[in-house]
Point group: C2
Chain length 369, copies 2
């Protein structure tokens, strides 16, 4: 049974993902993602309502590709982080732990997805995650709802999953259809099953020193994992995080602070992003603009994590496009000491961290050490 | 009835603070405050547990006082922000609003304090806030519990206040006695009455772009208020926040980001804090070390907010000490374009913002526009 056929059912829960076939493994995101936050009138007493959208420099043709011809292979000096290999090592450890749990207490971690509507990219994301669950022995399930589902219907599904003891993680795949209030839906996911780590309670506890959220967003955990596995000492290092998504930039900046890194946050209003970035030992790029971070933005020896996954039209590409990151890889590789490529960089490790969060949740639920 | 006599009662609720006399208005905080977070063993999979205490440069005698003799009055060029005057203007507006609410719907905002134990400084803080409530017509009340109260007793008091419709703000005065779990107590305060803004749900919603917390921590609101009242354009400006307390530094850094400022966060592990600070258009110092930020740390024309309130022994002082900030005022005033003094700087505006949060909460509860 594949995901397309699941769409035909109004609501269908599959016990495990091992029968799902995959259409594609390519992760596709919009080239230029505008934040949908509304520009609200400024109020003098209440200082919120200032969430103007991030508008990064417009895409000129020069941005779409960087100086891929300017380098020779022998000039490369950065270590290219193999995210897929690292993810495989983490997954192997998780699989061992899941096996140990099954043998010891006859229980298995469970991860449930809620998928509303028929967006191809959302389906692809969920498929990839379910396949990853399957490989390590985590029981994944999916609840599919048609795009016209009411918000109450979605909330009921989430509440059911919250109270299902076999489910240890609940992911509502975003974005939801426009008529749904994403904030309300995300808020209803139990913080104790919020393996994405996007619930404000978990984000607040991540921000607050001395507290522990139930879950840290997977991409942020993945960034730190990559740094630590590369032997980078974080304490006292300068990090620049470019962007401010809740998925990568915000939680990564909070987690880096908890590791006693000195963090600077570059946004689309920053006047001289390249100057600030050039001072950083660690750069995390999360803007959604292909090749925005050029080689001359980087301090020699910087550790560069590219969180961008931009689909750029390419008639020679397998699907009419190719994927590129937010960092001009060909230039950066000549300056940085290490860099995550796109694809095969941060993405696979992020998925491994989702499995890790789910395992942790099940361990907590069963008090399994 | 003064607060000392209140201590004799095991639990006593006062309807309004207007009968309370004040011992002193001096706010006393430890000179050198170590974060009490535990250093927990590092775990490879779960990357938390790294909250080592902030240890800022040790206090040398040269730190305790800065070059107060090096400047002449005519060399001063910074505007010295009169926090008391600004607070008075804000309070006047709040008083008008409270009057309007009383006239229109016969309701009054209510703020309740929970005070456990007999710390003089805590009593003083609460007295100051209650007097401020009284001046604008907000009904304040206090529940005093002896230091040996159990955590359950404290939690019951907080729960009662949560469900009391006449109470729109609940403040548990910190620190609590050592046997209490502050995190659990703060978590029980209803996010809708958390006028301090310290609840992780409110902090998370402050961190998450596009979301609105019920309340923003008062000192952070006060910082932005001071900047905006001074006509500072925040978008695209560089700000440096030194420190990371949940009271000032963390929420201020989050709020500055929401105002599209480029924020760098300096902590006690930052190797060259002065270099980073010297690049900032806006500096917020919140470290608890007297005079740590020297004149040569500042970019000429910087806007400096000093959130420190350090009691430094002084035999000539009225109470055997004098108050000083984290910024060497005498040096900074010659470099900055504006600076908040200590006292009479950020403190009074922070209290005004507490009143503002309480008024907002009552307006929300009564749907009063």
């Amino acid at each position: 049974m594949n995901v397309i056929s699941l769409l035909l059912g109004r609501r269908l829960v599959i016990g495990c993902s091992n029968s799902i076939k995959f259409k594609t493994f390519l992760t596709i995101s919009p080239i230029f993602e505008l934040n949908s936050s509304n520009f609200m009138a400024f109020q003098r007493i209440n200082h919120l309502g200032l969430d103007v959208p991030d508008v990064w420099p417009s895409l000129s043709s020069s941005n779409l590709s960087c100086n891929s011809n300017s380098h020779a292979v022998d000039k490369k000096n950065a270590t290219i982080i193999d995210g897929k290999e690292i993810a495989a090592a983490i997954k192997s450890h998780i699989a061992d732990e899941v096996t140990r749990m099954k043998k010891s207490i006859d229980k298995c971690p469970g991860l449930a997805f809620v998928l509303v509507g028929e967006r191809n990219d959302s389906h692809t994301f969920v498929e990839i995650k379910m396949k990853a669950c399957d490989k390590v022995g985590i029981a994944s399930s999916i609840v599919e709802l048609p795009a016209e589902s009411t918000q109450d219907e979605i909330l009921r599904v989430v509440s059911d999953l919250n109270s299902n003891p076999a489910v240890h993680g609940v992911i509502v795949q975003l974005p939801l259809p426009h008529h749904c209030d994403e904030e309300k839906v995300v808020n209803v996911v139990s913080p104790e099953k919020d393996v994405d780590g996007f619930h404000p309670l978990n984000m607040g506890n991540l921000a607050l020193k001395g507290r522990e959220p139930y879950f840290i967003p997977c991409a942020a955990k993945a960034c730190i994992e990559l740094l630590l596995r590369s032997g980078i000492e974080l304490v006292g290092k300068k990090a620049v995080v470019i962007g401010r998504s809740k998925v990568v930039a915000l939680p990564t900046s909070l987690l880096l602070q908890r590791h006693n890194t000195t963090v600077s946050l570059v946004n689309s209003f920053t006047k001289n992003p390249q100057e600030i970035t050039r001072e950083a030992d660690i750069v995390v790029a999360d803007v959604g603009v292909p090749n925005m971070v050029r080689g001359d933005w980087l301090k020699p020896g910087a550790f560069v994590i590219d969180a961008g996954t931009n689909a750029v039209k390419d008639p020679n590409g397998k699907h009419g496009f190719h994927l590129t990151g937010d960092v001009c890889f060909e230039e950066a590789v000549e300056v940085a000491s290490a860099i995550t490529p796109v694809p095969r960089g941060l993405g696979p490790v992020t998925i491994a961290m989702l499995l890790c969060n789910t395992l942790d949740s099940a361990k907590r639920a069963y008090n399994f050490v």
